[in-house]
Amino acid sequence: MAQSIFNRKTQKFIKVLPQAVVVYVLLAALVITMLGPYLYIFSSSFKETYTLISIPPQLFPEKFVWDNYTYILRELPFSLWFFNTILVAVLVTVGTVFIDALAAYAFAKKQFWARDFLFGLMLATIMIPGALLLIPAFLITNKLGLLNSYGGLIIPALANVLGVFLLRQFMQTIPEELEHAARIDGCSDFGVFWRIILPLSAPALATLSIVVFTSQWNNLVWPLVVLNDKDLYTLPLGLALLRSEFQVNYGITSAAAFLSVVPLVIVFIFLQRYFLEGLTVGAVKG
């Protein structure tokens, strides 16, 4: 009996083996394709200048050197760009999530005149491509005197329509009884929002935070049109500048590109779930 089960298992194993080999070879190719470029620039960032352009290319540097990193940190305002990116991304994230949550609470839980009209209007603006709004948004930012400043990077980014949609959907699922109980205990409107709705919306807030933070961290176009001063540059803009100024010094560009990705990779490793959930949310704007 035991013998025959063993035989059957072995037979089954032998039967799927060729398929399993093919599947795992293809998966290995997939992993190399997806992660290879990252690993390659990571290894290249330690290469000496002349080994960067050796033929055939070296997968691992002959000799590890820190020159590229010391160059971008000492000679270029890279640490400043890093700081700017973190500052802007964090402030935009906190501001957007708060402002969106306020609006979403009203749209989810309150009745007011013109609510459906306003909501429909917001829905319609999703279709507008960002490039069309770029010029007038620039002119308005200019009129507000915000060009070439942190404010110019942060304030126009604070109203996120998709964030309101996401949070409103989530808040609608919060039972009204909780709200009523809080009100009977004497909570004000804002008290209900702050003590009941916000804490209960934590998963949606986390997803939105990730979406906003990532898109700010990677935003190129808006900083490109708003900023002049190299000291105010964010990482994507700095990288674009490096590309034009250090066209062929791939050691420097590799080191910079690698450093710019590391923080998001770390956040991703810890908060993967929210990244995956946010994927389709962020997708709608494009």
Partner: protein, 363 residues
């Protein structure tokens, strides 16, 4: 085990269905208005529970008799009780008006004038910018490039993603979450960083790509500096950058298909290939359509990668619609032409977005 996986898949797709609900919730609002009045609401206002739907009607009818529209508006109980709601939406609405709605109408106006960004008075030229768009050589190149890019990248990305999703979704594969994380990695990097990474890989002579292709006998290709190949070099980079999105969506949808359906098909004598074509893919259709639509919308708005890698060159071979808008507005001082191009982009995107909404609505 399978159940668990399927549930994970559904959770990830939630935002899609959410949007659908958003979309249709608006329609259902008027009926919802009465039904959602809560017990607390009545307790506070002292209105009787039986006449639940009454307050608004009576307020409306009394308002007809009581003088000015504003006063009657204010007397409507629902308005007066919910002034607080406006305070909640106020910060958002101000920003939304200043940086979304306002710019939209301003952009429409800008497409009718001529001038640069700093010129205080810009002459009105009517539809002349739009006429110029159809005759200008560069614009025709730009349209051709964007179209060629879109019709290439979307099918390639969606089909490869589908194949890869089937690969990861294969029953023999363990630790599916690991592979899902792996394909997410390229989505993390900014377009600028991705461009840096790939400019080295695609570099002529000493680039890794040239080296690898030499093994299969492909001669050296100047991916980013040959006008014939530059657009495909960009396509390759963007494929790498975006493929994870499609794979993850497909994987979620695929693992959400009930295992019973597969088994039923197999009992009926279908082989793995037939199950995929006849059962799994038809059930994934809404997600595939969503992917195609999103891919198309992104493809028409391609800019970052082009800006960093080739800046539209060589000889405009990678000049896209958004590249045109950026350059004409911020470098060549032709705001009117740029805005007109933006409106054309809107007209291209709008029907596609509409399909997107419909797709989401159907699900």
């Amino acid at each position: 085990m399978i159940r668990g996986r399927a549930a994970v898949g559904l959770v990830q797709l939630q935002p899609c269905t959410d949007l659908q609900r958003v979309f249709f919730a608006a329609k259902a609002k008027s009926s919802e208005f009465h039904s959602r009045k809560s017990i607390y609401h009545w307790a506070r206002t002292g209105e009787s529970l039986q006449s639940g739907a009454e307050p608004m009607t009576s307020a409306t009818s009394s308002s007809v008799q009581s003088g000015t529209a504003i006063a009657s508006f204010w007397k409507r109980s629902d308005v007066r009780r919910n002034v607080g709601a406006y305070l909640f939406i106020l910060p958002f609405m101000i920003l939304f008006a200043v940086f979304n709605v306002g710019p939209f109408f301003w952009a429409l106006w800008l497409s009718l004038i001529r001038g640069d960004l700093v010129q205080p008075v810009k002459p009105f030229v009517g539809l002349q910018n739009y006429v110029s768009l159809t005759t200008d050589n560069i614009t025709l190149t730009v349209f051709k490039n964007s179209l060629q890019y879109t019709v290439s990248v979307v099918p390639i990305a969606v089909i490869t993603a589908l194949a890869l999703a089937f690969l990861i979704g294969n029953k023999l594969v363990r630790f599916k979450d690991f592979y899902r994380s792996v394909v997410f990695f390229p989505l993390l990097a900014s377009a600028a960083a991705t461009a840096q990474i790939w400019s080295y890989i695609l570099a002529p002579r000493y680039g890794v790509m040239t080296y690898l292709l030499s093994f299969v006998g492909v001669p050296e290709i100047y991916w980013l500096s040959d006008p014939t190949f530059a657009l495909y070099g960009i396509l390759l980079v963007e494929w790498w950058r975006g493929i994870g999105f499609h794979i993850i969506l497909f994987l979620a949808a695929m693992l959400g298909v009930p295992e019973e359906l597969h088994e039923a098909a197999r009992i009926d004598g279908a082989n793995a290939w037939q199950v995929a074509i006849r059962v799994t893919i038809p059930l994934m259709r809404p997600v595939i359509l969503f992917s195609v639509v999103m891919g198309t919308i992104w493809a028409f708005q391609l800019f970052d990668t082009v800006f960093v890698l080739t800046n539209g060159g060589p000889v405009h071979s990678t000049a896209t619609i958004v590249w045109y808008i950026y350059n004409h507005a911020f470098r060549y001082g032709q705001v009117g032409m740029a805005a007109a191009m933006g409106v054309v982009l809107l007209l291209i995107i709008m029907p596609i977005s509409f399909v997107q909404m419909r797709v989401l609505g159907e699900r």
